[in-house]
Symmetry: C2
């Protein structure tokens, strides 16, 4: 599996209105677009992808929602569809283990650290000043955890957590882009490594 | 300016509910994501980009809505924000010339042909079986019209319209992707051409 982890520093951790994802739901729109970018092909899903979103907003932070591409159902590409599945996950009681809310979508208590420990994979951290993705031979990424920040980036504490693991820091191009756009570019590089 | 034209074959041509972009609004969500991909950088807008969406759904098709990156205001990255500006444009009376609805957003009657005639630029048509973008020297694309289809692709009539102009057909990678993901990949290639 290719694994993506995106940290939503303001994303709320209880039920929310689908009509105000950027405001009241704490930039939940960013996380929805990342899930779309990670999972969707044209008329198909990337079944070899798992997405973890870490929600660090009020009132019961932190929680993690997992979208498992091999199992997920009821997901359409629009932000509202994705948000409705996150909302259903947040309506479940979050515990120290995964609880499935809808097919392929699960929730638990925990921070980024919990996923790093669970997966025990090399981390590829996306950051503007990282090594250019095209300067690398981009293959064998099927057992990797890609970590991306939201509009606030990652905190110092989160970056320290990464620096203590086996990791590399890469960038996807010369300009600073939204996290979901970075995921599209990562996938393209991996698709090319596999197919060309 | 870099110009993007996306055809929404089912996208409605009168006011619509922001709560059902994929259904009642005729896959308006696709067009919103394309506008996001074309215009947004992290914490900034691409001021050298213009996006044209051609709406071909009921009841008063066809109409074109233009987002001019050099002028646009009140646009946030979420689908609903973008859709609300499209909705305001559709509430204006569409005529054979552009009418501005909000800053940088305008509407007119017309089909893809009207834009091709107005811009008089070489067309780059995105299609799965086109030449790979990386097999080309991707520079000097500032005066180009990029054309993309929605989930239905382009019709035979639309493809004939392109074939009668100066054009090239390119693809962005080995897999079939959503139009907005293709736009992200196009931009990255142009950003690299400019900056590296």
């Amino acid at each position: 599996m290719k694994n993506f982890l995106i940290v939503g520093h303001k994303a709320v951790t209880e039920t929310f209105s689908l009509n105000d994802l950027p405001g009241a739901a704490g930039r939940m729109d960013i996380l929805c677009r990342c899930i779309n970018a990670a999972l969707f092909l044209s008329h198909d899903l990337r079944r070899d992808v798992c997405v973890f979103i870490v929600l660090k907003g009020e009132p019961s932070s932190p929680k993690i929602v997992r979208f498992d591409g091999s199992m997920v159902r009821y997901l359409s590409p629009d932000e509202r569809s994705c948000a409705s599945l996150i909302k259903k996950a947040l309506e479940k009681k979050a515990q120290d283990f995964w609880t499935e809310s809808t097919a392929g979508v699960s929730v638990r208590k925990g921070d980024m650290e919990a996923i790093i420990k669970e997966l025990e994979m090399k981390i590829t951290y996306l950051r503007e000043d990282g090594e250019d993705i095209r300067a690398k031979i981009f293959e064998g990424y099927s057992n990797r955890l890609f970590v991306l920040g939201d509009h606030l980036g990652l905190t110092e504490v989160e970056e320290k957590m990464i620096s203590e693991c086996e990791h590399e820091t890469i960038s996807v191009g010369p300009l600073s882009l939204h996290a979901d756009h970075c995921i599209v570019l990562l996938h393209n590089e991996m698709d090319r490594g596999k197919h060309i």
